[in-house]
Symmetry: C2
Subunit: 559 residues, 2 copies
C-alpha cells in the first residue's frame, strides 16, 4: 500500500466515526427546501473516562451475547478498560438492519451496511475479545454460558467452549414468529438478517428468469411473478415498495415480455397497513399502493403456506381462499429465541413470552444478568385475556373503542360483558390501557430502542463505582430508609419512525407528533439513514450505492 493509501486510511479510521456528523444538512432537490436533522442524545450527561474509578484488582468478567444494535451500542460506549469483556455472536459483523429491505432489491449492497465487530472493538480503550459462535445455553446458577462455533469448512480443534461471567448482557434479539402456521418455515422467506435479504434478492431474480422460460403457460408465468407479503408492518411495506420500484425502474426494461404479469400483494390481518403509525400515514400508504397497483388485502389471516399456494381466512366471512404464489415474504411478528426461553425457565419466568426486566434493564429474579433488545409479540389469546380483564372492570371501554371505530377489538372481546357496570373516567381508562401496555411488549423491537438501551447500560457499567458512592436513582421502596437506586431508570426517547413507500416518497412520524409525507420526507430519510451509519466507511458505501442506483439502476445479476 502506498503512502497516500496508508495516510488516507489512518485519517478515516482515526476519526471518531460514531460521534461526528450528528448534524447533517441536505438540500432536497425535489421540494427545493432545506431539511435539518439533529440527533440529540437520550442521555446527555457524559462522564470523562479519567473521572471513573478504575477497578485495580481483578476485573469483573462481562459477557455480551449478540452483536446487533443493542450489543454493538453497548460495546461502543463501554469503558472496556474497567472490565474483562468477551463477546459471543454467530455473526462477526454488525448489520444496519433498517436498510435490509433496500438490500433485497439491490438499492444498497449487503456489504455496504455491515461493519466487522472486530473493527468496532479494536477502537475501544481496553481489550475486548470476540468469539464467532452461538450461545447454546445459559447456566444461570453457575454464571456460565456454553457456546458452539459453526463453520462450514474442514477446520480442526474443538468448536465448543464455555465462558464464566460476573455480568451477562443478553442482546441476542428475537427470531421470526411463524405462529406455528403450517408450511411457513419451509416455504416462506423472512427478513431478519443479511442472509435473508441476499436470499430474497436471488429469489426475486429467479422468479423472473423462471417466468420467461419458453414452455410456460401465461398462468404459470403469472404465478411465478406473484409476490406475496404477509404482514403490513414497516418491513413488509418497505419490501413491497422496493420491489415495485425495482420492477418499474429496472426489470420492465430487461424482462419486457412479462412486465404486465407481475403482481405484488400485501396481506394484513388488521384493517390497515402500517397500523402502528399515525392514521394519516396509514391511509397515505394505502392510497400510494393503490395507485401503484400493489394489492392490499386487509382482514386476512394466513392459515397455511405450501410450495405452490398460500391459504388465507377472510376474517369477516370466515371463508378460506387459496392463491398461487411465486414468493412469500413472512414479516409478521417475532418471538423469543430458544436459548433465552430455556434461561427463562431456569429463573422461573417459564410462563412468560418475553424475558421480564426491571427499569434498569436487569432481568427480574437475577442479580447479574441484563437484557437488551428484548421485545416480542403477544399472542392474540394472551392479549385478549389482558383486555378481557380491563373490560370486566371498566365496561365503558367497549363503548369508547366503538366510538373510535376500533370495532374489531370489541368483536374480539364481546364475550367479556356480563359483569356489573361501574363508572370510569378517562384517567381510569388511560390507567387500564397502561396496564395492557405494561403487560404486553413494553417497547417496540426497533433499532432505536435497542441502541438506546445499549448506550444506557454501557453508561451504568462505566459509572458503577462512582454511582455506588453517589447514587443518582430514585428512592428504593424496600430496604433501609433513605437508600436510593444507583442509577436513573432507563427511559426511551422516541425520535420518530420512517416508512419509505417507493417512488422517492416516504412517510415519517417525527418528534412532537409531526407527520411528514412525500418526496421531501424521502430526502429526510436519506439524510437520517446516512448520518446514522456506524462508520465512515459504511456511510460512504451507502451513499455511493444510492448514487450508483440513480445513475445506472439496480443490478439484476443472480448472485
Amino acid at each position: 500500500m502506498s503512502f497516500f493509501g496508508r495516510a488516507a486510511r489512518d485519517l478515516f479510521n482515526g476519526s471518531p466515526a460514531s460521534t461526528s456528523s450528528k448534524l447533517l444538512l441536505l438540500f432536497t432537490v425535489s421540494s427545493g427546501g432545506l431539511v435539518a436533522y439533529s440527533d440529540s442524545r437520550s442521555q446527555p450527561d457524559e462522564v470523562p473516562a479519567s473521572i471513573v474509578n478504575k477497578n485495580d484488582g481483578q476485573k469483573k468478567k462481562v459477557v455480551v451475547l449478540g452483536t446487533g444494535w443493542a450489543g454493538t451500542s453497548f460495546l461502543k460506549d463501554l469503558d472496556a478498560s474497567m472490565y474483562d469483556v468477551q463477546v459471543v455472536s454467530p455473526r462477526n459483523y454488525f448489520a444496519f438492519t433498517p436498510l435490509l429491505p433496500s438490500v433485497t432489491c439491490g438499492t444498497v449492497e449487503a456489504r455496504s451496511i455491515v461493519e466487522p465487530v472486530r473493527n468496532i472493538i479494536k477502537k475501544r480503550n481496553g481489550e475486548i475479545q470476540f468469539w464467532e459462535a452461538d450461545c447454546l445455553k445459559i447456566d444461570a446458577e453457575n454464571n456460565k454460558i456454553f457456546c458452539k462455533a459453526n463453520f462450514d469448512n474442514n477446520t480442526v480443534g474443538s468448536e465448543e467452549f464455555s465462558l464464566e461471567y460476573d455480568y451477562l448482557v443478553v442482546a441476542v434479539g428475537a427470531q421470526v414468529n411463524t405462529f406455528n402456521t403450517p408450511g411457513v418455515k419451509e416455504n416462506c422467506h423472512f427478513l431478519k438478517d443479511l442472509e435473508d435479504a441476499q436470499r430474497l434478492r436471488r429469489t426475486v431474480i429467479d422468479c423472473f428468469e423462471k417466468a420467461v422460460l419458453p414452455d410456460l403457460t401465461e398462468e404459470e408465468r403469472r404465478t411465478n411473478l406473484h409476490f406475496v407479503i404477509v404482514g403490513g408492518g414497516p418491513t413488509g411495506v418497505e419490501f413491497a415498495a422496493e420491489l415495485h420500484d425495482f420492477l418499474i425502474e429496472d426489470l420492465v426494461n430487461i424482462y419486457p415480455t412479462v412486465k404486465d404479469l407481475v403482481k405484488i400483494s400485501v396481506v394484513q390481518s388488521g384493517d390497515h397497513i402500517l397500523n402502528t403509525f399515525d392514521e394519516r400515514i396509514s391511509s397515505f400508504a394505502e392510497q400510494k399502493f393503490s395507485r401503484d397497483g400493489i394489492e392490499v388485502q386487509t382482514g386476512c389471516r394466513v392459515v397455511s403456506v405450501s410450495d405452490k399456494e398460500i391459504t388465507m381466512k377472510m376474517k369477516p366471512t370466515g371463508e378460506l381462499c387459496s392463491i398461487p404464489h411465486g414468493l412469500v415474504l413472512w414479516s409478521t411478528g417475532i418471538s423469543t429465541r430458544p436459548v433465552v426461553k430455556d434461561f427463562m425457565e431456569q429463573i422461573g419466568q417459564g410462563k412468560r413470552r418475553i424475558l421480564a426486566t426491571n427499569e434498569w434493564l436487569r432481568v427480574k429474579e437475577t442479580e447479574n444478568v441484563y437484557a437488551l433488545d428484548n421485545s416480542g409479540t403477544l399472542t392474540m389469546v394472551e392479549f385478549r385475556a389482558v383486555v378481557d380483564d380491563i373490560i370486566a372492570r371498566y365496561p365503558q371501554v367497549e363503548t369508547y373503542l366503538n366510538n373510535q371505530h376500533l370495532g374489531d377489538l370489541t368483536d374480539l372481546l364481546k364475550d367479556a360483558m356480563s359483569e356489573d357496570k361501574k363508572e370510569v373516567d378517562i384517567e381510569g381508562f388511560k390507567k387500564a390501557i397502561h396496564l395492557v401496555d405494561s403487560q404486553t411488549t413494553s417497547l417496540p423491537a426497533t433499532a432505536q430502542v435497542a441502541g438506546q438501551q445499549g448506550k444506557y447500560l454501557a453508561k451504568c457499567f462505566n459509572r458503577k463505582n462512582q454511582c455506588k458512592e453517589h447514587p443518582e436513582g430514585p428512592r428504593r421502596f424496600a430496604g433501609p430508609g433513605g437508600t436510593r437506586h444507583f442509577f436513573a431508570p432507563f427511559r426511551y426517547k422516541h425520535f420518530g419512525q420512517f416508512a419509505p413507500l417507493g417512488g422517492e416518497q416516504a412517510a415519517a412520524e417525527l418528534p412532537g407528533d409531526w407527520v411528514s409525507m412525500g418526496h421531501s420526507t424521502q430526502w429526510l430519510w436519506y439524510s437520517v439513514y446516512a448520518s446514522k451509519q456506524v462508520s465512515w466507511r459504511t456511510r460512504m458505501l451507502v451513499v455511493s450505492d444510492w448514487t450508483r442506483r440513480f445513475i445506472f439502476g439496480r443490478d439484476s445479476s443472480r448472485i
Copy 2:
C-alpha cells in the same frame, strides 16, 4: 426516480461503453513515469451495418451456449437483426474473471465485476432472447439442444425445454480438472466462477475466526491458518499474493493474537511457479514470495486431499509427505465439460481431450457448430505420447532439450531412445515442436483468446452474405480450382499477460517481448483492467472498490 437520476442514467447507458476508452493514460505515482496502454483491434476492418445484406426471409436460428468471455463478446458484436438469436447459460450475468482472485479477499466486490446479460443484449440491434438454464445435451444429428433450468425456490411450470438451431455456438468454457485425485472434489476450493470466489472469501474468514476460539492448542490454530494453493499458475499465484496482502494490511490488526501463526504455501509440480511466463518473471515472483514468507514447494505432486491433510509426492525422491491444512485452493488444470464430451462422442471425436475446430473455429466433422473458448490441458500421458513420437524421429531433440536445461522433459522421455538416429536441423526441430503444439492446446484458455474468438466469429456471422459473394479467405485445397474460403482464418493476437504479485507490485509480459516488473507495472495493471471492463457501470464500481480499499482496507465480515 428524479429527473436528474433518469438523465444521468440515460447518459451513461446510452454511451457505447465497449468502444470508448481504448486509450487510457495513468500517471504512475510510485515510479513517476507515464504509462500508455493502447488497445488495438485484432481485426481492424469494420463493416458498417448498412452495407450488410440483410436476410429478408426466414431468419436463421443461432443458439449460443454460455455467457463467458467468448459468448459475451460474440453477442456484443453480432448484428442480431440478421439472425434469430437465443442464448442459454446457467448464469444470467457476465463475470470479469481476471478479477476473481481480487474478489476472494474483498479487494473488489463480486458485484463490481458482473454485468447482467440482459443489459448487454438489450443494447443490440435486434431482439436476442436469453434463457437461464443449463444445456444438458446437444443433439448434433437433429440440430437441437436440450436444456434444464435450475431454481432453488418453489416456482411452477416445466423447467425443461429444447431449442432448435441452424447454427450453434458452443462457448461453455472449461471445468476444473481434478485429475481424479482422491478427495479433491470434496475438500478443495476452486476459483472458476464467482460463487467459488465468494465461498473462498467466507472460508478465509472462517479459518481466522476458528483459529482464535478459546480452547484450541497452538498446533490447531496453526493448522487452521495454513492456506495451501495447489498450482503455481497465474490464478494460484495471484490468490497467494492477495491473501498475503489481506493478511498484512488488514487481518493482523483485527486478529493480532494469531498473526504469527499464518502460513501460505504454494505447491507446484514443475520446477518454477508462473512457468508459462518469461523466466525473469518467474524468478522475480519467487524472490518476492520468498521475501514475503510465502512458501513455494516445487517438484511436488498432490496425490490426495482429506478434510484435514494434503498428501504430496516429492518428485525427485518419490517420498510421500502429508501436511495439515486449513484451506486448499485447487487451481491446476481444466477439462472439457460433460455436455461437450458427449457431443464429441456423437461426432466421432470421442477419443480427443478437447473439441477440435478448424481455423475458422468451426467444429471439425460438423457443418454448423462453432466452438469458442475451447481450451484444455493435455494429460502427461498424452503429452508424452506426442513428444515420444517426435524424439523417435529426431533423437537430437533430447540433446537440445538438455542443453536448454529442460532436464525434466527428457527424464520423462528417457524410454523413447532406442531407434536409429537421423540428422535433424533446427528447422526440422521447429516443425516437430509445431507438431506438439498443434496436437496439444492450440491456444491458452485465457479471457483474451476467448474474447478475440467471440469478436472474430461475430464478424464472420455479420458478413456471411457479403463474403459469400466476395470471399476473403485463402484458396481451398480441395474443390474446384480457384475457389476460396469465405473468411480469413482466425488469428490470435497476444497483447501480453499480467501477474499481480501483491504489495502493489506486478509482473507483465507485454507485446514485443517486453517484460515489466514492479510497482509501475501494478499501475499499468490497474489502468488496463479498468479500461477492459465491459460497461461504464462496472468500470466505476471497480475503480471505487480500489479506492475504498486504499482508504478503509478490506472488509472482514463473514457474508
